[in-house]
């Protein structure tokens, strides 16, 4: 179980990462990460899942929205309209010409919001039994 949940989490981050140019993205990745925690909750109970998550789902929503807002505002600081994409090219060994941009940051925000929202819906329903 532990192995499966970790695998799902890794796969979800991979989905988030490749989302910009290929199918995938923050929403799909977020859903997958949420399903990892739901799996955890199904196996070990909602309390265990909350412990594994460490922070409250609402905190995840707040962080995600904040990150998305930040990504939207970076363009404004550079003098462009809101939400304009900006990219930095990183040259790290092993991955030359790695382009990291605000859309990825925005997607990371979406990822966190989706995890938070899904868990915030499902965990209380499971605890209600």
């Amino acid at each position: 179980m532990r192995f499966l949940a970790s695998l799902l989490l890794v796969a979800s981050v991979f989905l988030l990462w490749r989302g910009h140019n290929e199918p995938g993205g923050g929403f799909a990745g977020g859903l997958m990460a949420a399903s990892a925690f739901v799996l955890h909750a199904l196996a070990l109970g909602p309390d265990g899942a909350r412990r594994a998550l460490r922070v409250s789902p609402l905190f995840l929503i707040a962080t995600g929205l904040g990150i998305a807002l930040l990504a939207a505002l970076i363009g404004v600081m550079a003098g462009d309209p809101i939400l304009t994409g900006h990219w930095v090219t990183l040259d790290t060994p092993g991955a030359e010409n790695l382009k990291v941009g605000t859309p990825l940051l925005f997607d990371a925000g979406v990822y966190l919001v989706v995890v938070g929202v899904v868990l915030n819906i499902i965990l209380p329903l499971m605890e209600d039994e």
């Binding site: 309209p81 304009t84 994409g85």
Partner: protein, 496 residues
């Protein structure tokens, strides 16, 4: 300064995120929500100042050019609406600080209020039809949760009806968007305006227009789709009911006015005649419902419906004067109606009930409150020189000029019945001797109750006694609506 258009949205999103981060500390949440709303009033004021002389500000989000990306547009009408939303949001937040219980605060009441106002502002500012749908859903989700938050059985039932009807409305809206996209290949409202005008007049567009009329009609609580409103609004706590009553149905009216002045203007003889008679029916059924009830909040709920009729009547007459009347009416109504729901909350606090039978004697014990009630109540019925008079006067004159004398007669008759039911509340709750059933030591309302009530009453007086600049702004906004070419040119750039 086109980036200004997004400022209200950024402010609201930032304050809701900040409030959400401090979910466990209600005092900090209150401070953040109040700061956010004050900042929103500032941002809206700035936006209003920039658009006051008729300039239309346009922001292409993400720097994608107009018909392809999402456009945010602030013409004068949108700026006025954002300003009103900011004022009402601030007032409701102030009232909430004094009244909302700790349970609701822990479940995210303030962040939700901010997200609700965010959705409302987004709906006012967007220039893209699908984006309008998204903003609608943002504000609906927030309102659903606020509506259901921490309530007992009646509130749950009210919320359920509200949710179900609004979901149906969203589906109709979505279907309309899909059909419109299929026929025109665009979602940008300015672009749509041109494409729909070029489309063949074979009834397809009229059918789509009717889908939009039904969808927005549900949201605006027009006849015959208003039943969800009196079934749900009065179950929520006073500040929530006030915010909903003031703002939410008006978003539906705004969308109706926007869509039926910008996009669906090709078959005015058909669509706008339907709107005319629906407006009249809305006015009449609303006011009859109000007259037949004896519960302060229910009476006020039915009055919302009745007044929605006035606002859409201006759209139906489709002249600059009539639209100016509608816009002025919306402004007047949002301020007055929110205030009346606040006062209803205070009456409940003092008298222990919303039922008129159990109330009485408030004029003797609370003369200041009686005076504060008098202003919005009689403004609502259109007594000069309060703000409601000018709004109704513009509509009456427009109706007379258009020769719609039947509608005119209904406007005047409904005004009389409004006066009747306002007088009923005034006599029963304030003048009548106390019934003796009131709690012995009523929980006394404090600063957070009187400050928003007093502020809104003062605004009502200003709108009435110094109506001239506001009327001319409404006229300018209406002129912009009647000449969609200016909107289109601002969004798509000057025609080549």
């Amino acid at each position: 300064m086109s980036g200004l258009v997004a400022l209200p949205l950024v402010v609201m999103l930032a304050s809701s995120v900040a409030a959400l981060a401090f979910l466990r500390y209600p005092k900090i949440q209150e401070a953040i929500a109040l700061t956010g709303m004050v900042a929103l009033v500032g941002a809206a004021g700035w936006l209003l100042a920039e658009t006051w002389d008729g300039e239309i500000l346009v922001l292409q989000a993400g720097n994608w050019p107009a018909p392809f990306g999402i456009t945010l547009v602030a013409d004068l009408f949108a700026s006025i609406m954002v300003m009103l939303a900011a004022i009402v949001g601030l007032a409701a937040t102030m009232y909430s600080v004094g009244t909302i219980d700790a349970d609701r605060e822990r479940y995210g009441y303030y962040p939700l209020m901010n997200i609700l106002v965010l959705g409302v502002c987004g709906a006012f500012l967007t220039g893209d039809l699908f984006n309008l749908y998204v903003w609608f859903e943002v504000l609906l989700v927030a309102s659903f949760v606020i509506m259901a938050l921490g309530g007992g059985r009646p509130q749950m039932e009210g919320a359920l009806k509200y949710v179900a009807l609004n979901l149906v409305s969203s589906v109709l809206f979505l279907s309309g968007v899909g059909l419109l996209y299929a026929a025109t290949g665009t979602l940008n409202m300015a672009d749509l305006s041109q494409r729909v005008a070029e489309a063949e007049a074979d009834g397809y567009m009229t059918a789509v227009a009717m889908l939009f009329l039904t969808a927005f009609g549900i949201k605006a609580a027009m006849f015959p789709l208003f039943f969800w409103l009196p079934a749900s609004y009065h179950t929520a706590p006073a500040p929530v009911a006030a915010l909903f009553a003031g703002l939410l149905t008006k978003v539906g009216v705004y969308a109706l006015i926007r869509v039926f002045t910008l996009i669906f203007t090709t078959d005015v003889g058909y669509t706008h005649t339907i709107i005319l008679w629906l407006s009249v029916a809305t006015m009449v059924t609303g006011v009859l419902g109000a007259v037949s009830h004896n519960d302060v909040k229910r009476i006020l709920s039915f009055h919302i419906i009745s007044q929605i009729g006035y606002m859409t009547l201006g759209l139906a007459l489709f002249t600059p004067l009539a639209l100016a009347g509608s816009i002025f009416y919306i402004g007047h109504h949002i301020i007055v109606k929110t205030n009346l729901f606040f006062i209803a909350g205070v009456i409940r606090r003092l008298g222990g009930s919303y039922e008129l039978v159990h109330l009485g004697g408030l004029a003797r014990s609370r003369p200041a409150l009686a005076a504060l009630f008098f202003i919005p109540a009689f403004s609502l019925s259109g007594i000069p020189p309060l703000s409601g008079f000018f709004a109704k006067f513009a509509l009456v004159r427009a109706a007379a000029e258009e020769g719609e004398f039947v509608a005119l007669a209904f406007v005047l008759g409904v005004g009389l019945l409004t006066l009747l039911s306002m007088t009923k509340i005034f006599v029963e709750a304030f003048l009548k001797p106390a019934s003796g059933e009131a709690p012995a030591a009523p929980a006394s309302p404090g600063f957070w109750h009187y400050a928003p009530i007093g502020g809104l009453a003062a605004l009502t007086l200003v709108l009435g006694f110094a109506a001239e600049p506001f009327l001319s702004a409404a006229t300018e906004a209406a002129d912009q609506l009647m000449e969609p070419e200016r909107y289109i040119a601002a969004v798509l750039g000057e025609p080549q």
